[in-house]
């Protein structure tokens, strides 16, 4: 395991990382006491990289994703997306940044059941106040292999097809960063392969950055780098690992 413990190295100014986490911590307070979900995570995600975040349940991986995407505010530390500090933005500015720069894919497909496939994909464009161009939407639908399904509603599609709609919706705004939380969690292995292939394409062809939380070593195998999280800290990382290596690293981490 090539261990790169938390470092504070910054890239040269010419190469601003797509996403930079600078010492973020997250503490939840409740009547029962305080829980430190993140205890100081520093990491930079280079442009066009595909990173998988792995860890046991409660290791803080979902919290990491939510803080990185600006859905939750870290207790301390900073998140910089394309050089912009999320902590300085208002709710509306954050929302606008989210719809222009970020795409989301989750385990639950999160489509609006009321809208057709076409309208679901076009929705982020409409939210910006622009009238979506037909060719743009059709092109993304073709990209995820859903030509001819534009008029269907989510309930009429299979799970894999719904997930591809969700990816098309994330692709349509050409976001800088994709956030994926267990995107293949509810899918069979062949459908999973197609979905992960689409994410891989986004980084390879369009130079987009993907941050994916998963517990599946096979899914993590699609990433260039796997980041291991344990007890709210980065416990290590693995570059270009095979699913077997990743699985071995995971069990090693859990035994520690």
């Amino acid at each position: 395991m090539t261990s790169t413990a938390p470092t504070r190295q910054y890239a040269e100014p010419s190469e601003t990382p797509a996403l930079l986490l600078d010492g973020i911590t997250k503490t939840y307070r409740s009547k029962a006491g305080t829980v430190d979900a993140l205890r100081g995570v520093t990491h930079q995600f280079a442009r066009g990289s595909f990173t998988a975040v792995m860890g046991a349940s409660g290791s803080g991986k979902s919290t990491l994703l939510q803080c990185a995407a600006g859905l939750d505010r870290p207790t301390t530390g900073a998140v910089l997306l394309g050089g912009v500090g999320l902590q300085d933005l208002s709710e509306v500015e954050l929302t606008k940044l989210r719809r222009q720069q970020m795409g989301f894919v989750f385990q639950a497909y999160n489509l609006l059941p009321a809208l057709t496939v076409y309208d679901n994909v076009a929705l982020p464009l409409r939210l910006t106040g622009r009238r979506p161009r037909r060719e743009v939407v059709d092109q993304v639908l073709a990209q995820v292999g859903l030509e001819g399904k534009a008029r269907r509603r989510p309930a009429e599609l299979s799970g894999g097809q719904q997930q591809r709609v969700a990816i098309a919706r994330a692709l349509v705004t050409k976001p800088a960063v994709f956030f994926a939380d267990e995107p293949t969690g509810a899918l069979d292995s062949s459908t999973s392969r197609q979905i992960l292939g689409l994410l891989r394409e986004a980084t390879d062809l369009a130079g987009q950055t993907v941050v994916m939380v998963t517990h599946d070593p096979v899914a993590a195998g699609y990433a260039e780098r796997v980041l291991f999280l344990s007890d709210g800290l980065v416990a290590g990382s693995l570059d270009r690992g095979t699913p077997q290596q990743i699985a071995a690293a995971m069990s090693e981490l859990e035994e520690r």
Binding site: L71, V92, T95, N110, A114, L115, R126
Partner: protein, 660 residues
């Protein structure tokens, strides 16, 4: 965002069906009140039957003329009832729309979170919810208005020739009233949807990733603040229901329950769990798990319990206090009749009985026969003129059959152009002994009367303006007394005299009755004319609240599909779940009815005290049948509309559905 609103409404049709029905019925009732009011405004009556009165003006009012109908056949009574009906419908509509929209938004918390996640700003989410409200409101308002237009002739036919409007009413042009109604419907819906929209705007994007939508445990400070303000207003209004407030006690007693309902609905999440806990004590003791579960559900979800209780509370408090207050008011007026009338025998004369005076007076044993002649007198103030019932009396005779001891002044001076007036009119128009009142008599002669005495109010026995009998005769030469109060000679038994009078008056159609019997007839008359107003007011409101109760409970139960299915998975039998829902809705119904009863009793008892202070022998009539009926209907609706959807869910789903 309007594009999205249209699509989501279509998708969530069941969720919005409740809002649609509620608003359509509300607009229907408002529209009906509006078109009927237009018909009453369009009614002018025959010009020949009215007189123009010059008004001197004063207090910033220019001198002008006012047309007053001499026969008294106008539509003012109906107008009052219609405006009350409109106020009540509008009030309940805002209420119901706000709660149904809140439900519709709460049920879609996750979907709203998703929209926020993919880049909708809070403002866009608010606009989407308002847009949805607009779509629903537009369709519902137009439907309601169309229904109102169809039903208007029916209402006008029913209302014509009644005590409220003793004339024939014709439909007027519907465009203006219905246009206003549709506009009100839209505004009401948007007002009701506004708080729901604001709440939706506060949903964060993280909600899309969370599982169940847990309700926020606390209610806002603003809501508590408003609740307390309304509570204070209601307490002030209730405090004003006391002797000395005068005519205003009745509207105060009718409107303070509404304000209390608003207050308790706002404070509901604080109040409902406490009363729920009290009612749950016997329930927990008598049942096994189901009662305990029901208590936890009611107490642990105070917001849901409160919004389920709200429509039951509102209809039980408003209808209950109206029924009881009107009944107590009728008690007060029959007590007034009893106090005022000292003669033991009353003769009621039909319209064309001919001259009875001689026959009555010549009957042996009759000491005094007091037959007042009614004469229409239009009384002009600075800025208004009203027709009042004048009564021509012989003060010497009347003083021996009725309780006419003046509060101030002297009845012996009631000769020539003079008048004695009731206490209430004196205080509301600021008349004193010696005041000159400009009047117009029914024969269109103008004159001025000097106040010589102020007497106790005795509606039903005395007219509000008492004039010398000669003066009345002069202006109404054809008029005959409608009733005679008979005082027998000392030592003559009333029963004996009644027999003699009966023989004497055979063939005239006049009826000789004991004073008590006459009092009872008067009382029945008051209650009967109250009844029509009550039906017009409570009927539609009850229908509406029924829909609202069913609506909220239906939506509340349908939302709990997952919970029911999970309980099945854990081993609860369908019967156990049904029992739990039964106890739960019973508990919510009991809490709401407790509050409704408290409001009803408070308002009615204060009113009773205010109206009857200083009187003896006030009868107490509690319309138990109607009140218990209201409570029973509320309870049946509450329990039924919780059990029906539960049964539906349980039949249609299997425990395995929980893992889906």
């Amino acid at each position: 965002m309007f594009f999205l609103s249209r699509q989501t409404v279509r998708r969530h049709l069941p969720l919005y069906a409740g809002s649609f029905v509620a608003l359509a019925v509300g607009v229907f009732l408002l529209g009906l009140a509006a078109t009927a009011t237009a018909a009453t405004l369009a009614y002018h009556g025959p010009i020949a039957d009215s007189v123009l009165v010059d008004l001197p003006g004063g207090g910033g009012v220019q001198p002008h003329q006012q047309r007053v109908t001499l026969s008294g056949a106008d539509t003012a009574g109906l107008q009052v009832v219609l405006s009350l009906m409109a106020a009540m419908s509008g009030f309940i509509t805002i209420f119901v729309i706000a709660s149904t929209f809140a439900f519709a938004v709460a049920a879609r918390r996750r979907e709203v979170g998703l929209l926020r996640l993919i880049g909708a700003t809070p403002r866009q989410v608010r606009r989407m919810v308002l847009g949805e409200a607009l779509v629903v409101a537009l369709v519902a308002s137009l439907t309601g208005a169309a229904l109102a237009q169809l039903a208007t002739p029916l209402l006008l036919a029913k209302a014509s020739y009644t005590d409220l409007a003793p004339v024939k009413l014709e439909s007027a042009s519907p465009w203006l009233p219905l246009g206003i109604t549709v506009a009100i419907g839209l505004v009401v819906a948007l007002l009701g949807a506004r708080s729901a929209a604001r709440r939706a705007g506060r949903v964060g994007p993280v909600e899309a990733l969370r599982e169940a939508a847990l309700e926020p445990p606390r209610i806002g400070v603003v809501r508590i603040g408003f609740g307390l303000v309304f509570l204070a207003a209601a307490i002030v209004m209730l405090a004003l229901i006391r002797p000395g407030t005068g005519e205003a006690v009745m509207p105060l007693a009718l409107f303070s329950p509404m304000i209390l309902v608003i207050s308790l609905t706002l404070l509901g999440p604080l109040v409902v769990p406490w009363i729920g806990r009290l009612w749950a004590i016997p329930l927990v003791r008598w049942t096994s798990a189901s009662g305990r579960l029901a208590r936890s559900n009611v107490v642990a979800a105070p917001r849901r319990s409160a919004s389920l209780a709200a429509p039951i509370l509102s209809i039980s408090a408003i209808a209950g206090s109206m029924v009881l207050s009107l009944s107590f008011a009728a008690d007060a007026s029959s007590a007034i009749v009893r106090d005022m009338l000292t003669a033991p025998i009353v003769i009621t004369a039909p319209e064309n009985a001919g001259k009875l005076a001689e026959r009555i007076r010549s009957t042996p044993g009759v000491a005094e026969a007091d037959g007042g002649i009614s004469v229409g007198i239009i009384r002009a103030d600075g800025d208004s003129a009203q027709l009042a019932d004048g009564e021509g009396i012989d003060p010497a005779v009347a003083a021996r059959t009725r309780n006419l001891t003046p509060i101030t002044g002297d009845l012996a001076q009631l000769t020539g152009k003079t008048v004695a007036i009731g206490k209430e009119m004196a205080s509301s128009a600021h008349y004193r002994v010696g005041s000159e009142i400009p009047v117009v008599f029914a024969d269109r002669t103008k004159d001025s009367l000097r106040v010589v005495a102020i007497v106790p109010d005795g509606s039903g026995v005395n007219g509000p303006l008492l004039v010398p009998v000669e003066l009345a005769r002069q202006h109404a030469p054809q008029a005959e007394p409608e009733h005679w109060f008979i005082q027998p000679v000392d030592g003559v038994e009333p029963a004996q005299l009644m027999g003699a009078l009966d023989r004497q008056l055979t063939g005239t159609g006049a009826q000789v009755v004991r004073a008590e019997e006459w009092e009872r007839q008067q009382d029945d008359g008051v209650r009967k004319s109250n009844q029509l107003g009550l039906i017009m007011l409570i009927g539609p409101a009850a229908l509406y609240s029924g829909i609202a109760i069913a609506n909220t409970l239906l939506m509340g139960s349908l939302q709990r599909r997952h919970e029911f299915v999970t309980s099945r998975l854990l081993g609860a039998t369908p019967a156990q779940i049904r029992r739990m829902v039964l106890w739960e809705s019973t508990l919510v119904g009991a809490v709401a009815l407790t509050l409704g009863t408290a409001i009803t009793v408070t308002a009615a008892v204060l009113l009773r005290h205010a109206m009857t202070v200083g009187m003896t022998q006030v009868p107490m009539t509690v319309p138990w049948g109607t009140l218990l009926g209201i409570a029973a209907v509320c309870m049946v609706l509450a329990v039924g509309s919780a059990l029906v959807p539960t049964g539906f869910i349980l039949r249609r789903s299997h425990p395995s559905g929980a893992v889906e």
